[in-house]
Amino acid sequence: MTPLAAGTPIEHAGTANTAARAPQLVFDHVNKAFGRSDGSSALALADVSLSIDDHKFVAVIGPSGCGKTTLLRIANGLIAPDSGTVSVKGRPPVPGPDTGFVFQGFRLIPWATVLGNVEFALETLDLSASERRDRANTYLELVGLTRWATSYPGQLSGGMKQRVALARALAGEPQMLLMDEPFASLDAQTRELMQIELLHIWNRRKPTVLFVTHSVDEALLLADTVVLMSTGRILEVIDVPLARPRQLDAARSDQDFITLRNHLWNRIRDLVLTDPASAFFGRELNQ
C-alpha cells in the first residue's frame, strides 16, 4: 500500500521489478480540458502522471466525473492530451487491435448483428473469414450470448448489450485491455462469472488491464494496483497485497483487505462529502 501525494510523478511507484521491464503505459504530466457551454473549460485530467507495467491489472476508481473515461480514451490514443505525453511501450498510443476498449455506453453498431458487432473488431486481425467467425462465436459463448448471435442490438436488454461490448473487446485478444465499468449493467452473478472469465483470460494471456470500476470490492478482488482519482487528479496509487487466486468471501475476512477497503472507502467518502470542490460538499450520509 503506497499512498502518494496527488500529482507526484510515480514512474517508479509500480511493482518492485519496474526497473527490469519497460513499462507498458506511461502518462507524463498529462492535462486535458473540455470546453463547457458557458465558455469556461473543465479540467478532466490535471497533471496526471502514471506508469503501468506490462501484464498488470490496474483498477481505476473515483467519484463520478473525475476523469476515468478520459484517462482511458487518452491511453488508447483516441484523444490527444492538451499537454504532457502518453506512451505505450515507448511510443505514442495508436488505437488498434493491440488494445481492446469496453466503452461505458457500449457503442454497438445498431445495424450489425451481435455476431457482426464482435466480428467487426476482428477485421484488423490477420484471420480468415471462418476463423473470425469462430473466434467471435467463442467469445459470444463466453459472455453467454450464443443464442442471440443473429439478433440486432436494439433487441437486447441493457446487460446483454454490455456483454456484447465485452465480447468485442476480448475477442481481439489484445495486449492491453481498457475497460470502462464493463460490468456495471450486469446482475451480481453474471458479473461474478464475467470477473472470473476475465481473470482466466488475464492469467492465461496476461494483457495489461486498465479497469474502471465503481466497486471497491471489485477493484480489490481483481487488481494488482488500484488508482484513486478525483477531479482530474490521481490521488493515490495503491498496490493490492492480496495473494491470488482471491475469493471475495474469503477476502472479506482478510485483514489487509479490510484495511485497504476501509481506507479507500473513507478516502472516497471524504472526497465526495468533505472536499469543497465536490458537488456534495457538506451532505450527510445518514438517512
Binding site: F101, R107, G154, R168
Partner: protein, 258 residues
C-alpha cells in the same frame, strides 16, 4: 420500422392501399369538377384523358416515348448515383475537400440546367449523351447534398469505437459512416429520382426532341390537352414506381430497426 409513428399506430399495407385509393378517388373527383368548370377545355375530363391514353397506346406512341425517356432517365439517374454517393462520401470524409467544394456544389445546383444547354450541345451534341448528361446534372445534386449531410451527421461515438478497434478510414466509412447515412442517402435518391425525371423532360425539349418530353411538346403546342394529361400522368407514374422501388431497398437496409 422505427419511426415517430411509435407515437401512433403502424397501419397494414391493406389499410394504406385503401386510403390511397380513397384519396385517388377524391383527386379524380376534383379533377372532374375542374374539367367541367374551367372554360375552353383547358382541363380535359378524366374520361377524355382515359380515351386519349387508349389512343396513344394503340398507336404505340406512348410505348415508344416511354422507352426513349426511360432509357435516358435511368442512364442519367444511374450515373448520378455512381457519381454522387462516392463524391458525397469523399466530401464528408475529407473535411477540407468537402468544405471547399460545397459552395461550388450549391452554386451549381442553383443554376438552371437550361443555362448550360448551349454548352452541353457544343460538347456533347444533341443525342442521348447530352440528354443523359442533363438528367445526371439534375439528379446528382440532391443525392450528393443528402449523402454529404448524412456522412457529416455520423455518430462520433461509433466512429471512435471503430477507431479503437483499429478500423482504417475506409472501413470506418464503409461500415459505420455510410450505413449511418443511409436514411439521408435514400431521401437523396428519392429526390434525385424525381428531379432526374423532370430533367429528362427538359433534356428532351432542349436537345433533339424525343420521348415523353417530345410528346408533351407536341400535345402542348397543339393544345391536345387530353393527350397532354396522359403524358403528365405517365411521368408521375414513373416517379411513383421509382420512388416506391427505393422503399424496397430502404426496408431491406433498415431491417435492424424492426
Amino acid at each position: 420500422m422505427a419511426s415517430a409513428s411509435r407515437t401512433n399506430q403502424e397501419y397494414s399495407a391493406l389499410t394504406i392501399a385503401a386510403t390511397r385509393i380513397g384519396f385517388l378517388i377524391l383527386l379524380l373527383a376534383l379533377w372532374w369538377l375542374a374539367s367541367i368548370n374551367v372554360a375552353r377545355n383547358i382541363i380535359p375530363s378524366p374520361l377524355a384523358t382515359y380515351h386519349a391514353a387508349g389512343r396513344l397506346f394503340s398507336e404505340g406512341r406512348l410505348q415508344q416515348g416511354l422507352l426513349d425517356s426511360v432509357t435516358v432517365y435511368l442512364s442519367g439517374y444511374g450515373i448520378a448515383i455512381l457519381i454522387a454517393i462516392p463524391l458525397g462520401v469523399a466530401m464528408g470524409a475529407f473535411n477540407l475537400f468537402g468544405r471547399t467544394l460545397e459552395i461550388y456544389v450549391y452554386a451549381l445546383s442553383a443554376t438552371p440546367r437550361v443555362a448550360f444547354i448551349p454548352l452541353i450541345i457544343v460538347l456533347l451534341g444533341l443525342g442521348i449523351e447530352a440528354k443523359v448528361f442533363i438528367v445526371m446534372l439534375g439528379a446528382v445534386m440532391p443525392i450528393l447534398i443528402n449523402t454529404y449531410a448524412g456522412v457529416r451527421q455520423a455518430d462520433p461515438e461509433l466512429i471512435e469505437m471503430a477507431r479503437s478497434v483499429g478500423a482504417g478510414r475506409l472501413r470506418i466509412f464503409s461500415r459505420i459512416v455510410i450505413p449511418g447515412a443511409i436514411p439521408y442517402v435514400i431521401v437523396g435518391l428519392r429526390l434525385g429520382a424525381t428531379i432526374g425525371l423532370i430533367n429528362t423532360v427538359v433534356a428532351e425539349l432542349y436537345t433533339a426532341v424525343s420521348g415523353l418530353g417530345g410528346l408533351l411538346a407536341i400535345y402542348g403546342n397543339t393544345f391536345r390537352m387530353a393527350e397532354y394529361f396522359v403524358i403528365v400522368l405517365c411521368l408521375a407514374a414513373i416517379g411513383v414506381v421509382v420512388t416506391e422501388s427505393l422503399r424496397i431497398i430502404e426496408n431491406r437496409l433498415g431491417r435492424w430497426r424492426d
